[in-house]
């Protein structure tokens, strides 16, 4: 029994060393393989991201490898990173399941000459060259205030329905909305309350109902969270208030399609376009591999149809750098039909 175990161990170690040797042998010439490591399988949003990535890689005639882990865990991603490195890919773009856990695997990859960037949800600055961020928080703040301005007719009361009071992305967006509101253009627009629905359906509904009770003159609810915007739209629709109060914010097209119809509660809303996030990641990775950019602040590179892109300080303030996709994508009555089946 003991012998058998020993033999098995020797065989496995030999096999493993051979496979590593084989990988090293393949790394001699410059690879044209660009890998996207997604969060998990079966997520329509992630599928769209991969679609954009493939589109970009096809444009510069590279070879796209897209990997979907079976589970949304760091463990699965680490196994796949090791696999990709041994295949000798030129670069990896990863939508991380864990901010820190991938560091050893990604550093190992970098040491072997593989360029690493993150997209969608980032890894820590030590593990990445740069990060592709789906939306510029300043642009989100401006878009949402501009929407409130438009939907209230330029003056009147509006309220924000957020997720939890501790969510950093929510707070950054709300902060940027408040900054935008300081512009004299929005002087007649009054933000009466920031309510927190905690991204819970029931709490978001009661918070919306409380807004309606407390502020009878309310004209618009802006919910920069997918749970909040759907709950608010449902309450407004059920109470027959679609003509007096408009709902907008950041929402999932599939969830909001019901309320984005002629005479519905939500005339338009925003979110990022996952195809563009993947597309930008493809071109960013290419720029890194060709060493046209190194991920330093001020680096400029061309990103296909998106035009010239610049590396900036990360808006999350983690000390790293990032590339911002730009303005959030607008969903309205004209395009919701095609997007509602996407994600």
């Amino acid at each position: 029994m003991k012998n058998l175990k020993r033999v098995l161990a020797i065989v496995m170690v030999t096999a493993l060393s051979l496979s590593i040797l084989a990988a090293c042998g393949g790394g001699g010439k410059k690879s044209n393989d660009y890998a996207l490591l997604s969060k998990s399988t079966g997520n329509p949003y992630m599928e769209k991201q991969a679609e954009g990535f493939k589109e970009a890689v096809a444009e510069f005639e590279g070879n796209a490898i897209v990997k979907f882990p079976a589970n949304p865990t760091a463990e699965d991603q680490i196994a796949m990173i090791t696999e990709l490195v041994s295949q000798g890919v030129a670069g990896i773009a990863v939508a991380a399941n864990d901010y820190d856990a991938l560091e050893p695997a990604l550093k190992e990859a970098t040491k072997k000459g593989v360029k690493v960037i993150s997209l969608d949800s980032s890894v820590n600055p030590a593990s990445r060259l740069t990060h592709v961020n789906q939306a510029d928080p300043v642009a989100i703040g401006v878009s949402l205030v501009e929407a409130a301005f438009d939907l209230t007719g330029g003056s009147g009361q509006f309220a924000i329905l957020s997720a939890t009071s501790t969510a950093s992305n929510q707070n950054t967006w709300i902060e940027n909305m408040k900054k935008t509101l300081e512009d004299p253009k929005y002087a007649d627009l009054e933000l009466v309350k920031v309510a927190y629905g905690d991204d819970l359906r029931d709490k978001s509904v009661s918070e919306t109902e409380a807004l309606l009770q407390t502020y009878p003159d309310l004209k618009c609810i802006v919910a920069p969270t997918t749970v909040g915007i759907a709950a608010a739209a449902k309450v407004i629709t059920d109470n027959g208030l679609v003509d007096t109060i408009a709902v907008t914010g950041l929402g999932l097209p599939s969830e909001m399609a019901e309320y984005m119809v002629e005479g519905g509660a939500c005339p338009y809303m925003f979110l990022w376009n996952p195809i563009d996030v993947g597309y930008l990641a493809g071109h960013t990775l290419k720029a890194m591999v060709d060493e046209k950019a190194t991920g330093k602040v001020g680096d400029k590179f061309e990103a296909g149809r998106l035009g010239s892109m610049e590396v900036v300080d990360a808006t999350s303030g983690d000390g790293g750098t990032e590339v911002l996709l730009g303005d959030p994508f607008k969903f309205d009555l004209d395009n919701i039909g095609e997007w509602k089946s996407v994600y």
Partner: protein
Amino acid sequence: MTAKQDKSIVRSLSVARLRDIGLVLFIVILSIFIQFRNSQFLTISNLNNMLINACIMGILAVGMMMVIITGGIDLSIGSTLALSGMSAGLFVRDNPDAPVIIAVLIGIAVGMAAGFVNGLLVGKGGVLPLIATLGMMNVYRGLTYIIAGGAWVSAHQMNDGFKAISFYNILGINSMIWIAAIVFLIAYFFLNYTRTGRRVYAVGSNYEASQISGTNVDNIQILVYTIMGGVSGLSGILWVSRFASAQGDTAQGFEMNVIAACVLGGVSITGGSGKVPGVALGTLLLGILRNSLPLLKVSPFWQDAIYGVIIMIAIIVNVMVKRTVDKRNLQRRHI
């Protein structure tokens, strides 16, 4: 029946009543205070909103009360609710023309099956209820993601009939309120006037004695967990219909609110005692709190703390009333 027995029955009834009166008074004082802060509180439309929002918690609290009376607890109800709601949601998405009642039955059946498994683990398997339902909580949550393939069912994929379940008025009153009222009435009748109902109390107040006296304790436990699963399934349908959305993370952590409603309503967490009217009042109090805190015009950062403090005060008042009553009873017995 002797006069002495008669008297003790009367007394025990009045004790229960008195305890409820403590809670009623607390609710009245709280309502006056809230009304003072925001005059929109005691309006028909707001009270209607509040009652509708409290319905799901109330329905679940009735089931939870039975489980707690037998000395158990069920932490898996949030997951069971999500699993049933998702099953019904997927059915509606894939069969938009099928009668709505089938979706409702599927939801309840899935919930009962989940509850039955909990009951088997606790009753036949002898696993501690806390452990068994904690484990199954994760299993059912996982199953919810698996059957949906990580996706969700949105409002536009549900037919109008399904969404109308929670949005239909009978005699001017919302269907969810009717359903909750019926569940409360059935539970009241079952626990007070049927032999099986009385056995639920017997198992909780003295496990060995009820076993020796011929009660099939295992079956009673399986029964209460299956009922709990059934009402969770019903709640799942109502949840998905009301919010017009079936998600994998539906009602995560909701079990804690339900347990709180039971404890507020005077259900003893060690088993053996608990009354339907008490649970109704406990649910009402939590419902008022959840509805009125956003109306209070206080900073949202204070809401959670205020919520917790009021619950603590209510429980302390409740315990004090109970102790005073018990002490008075003992004094009477001495004389």
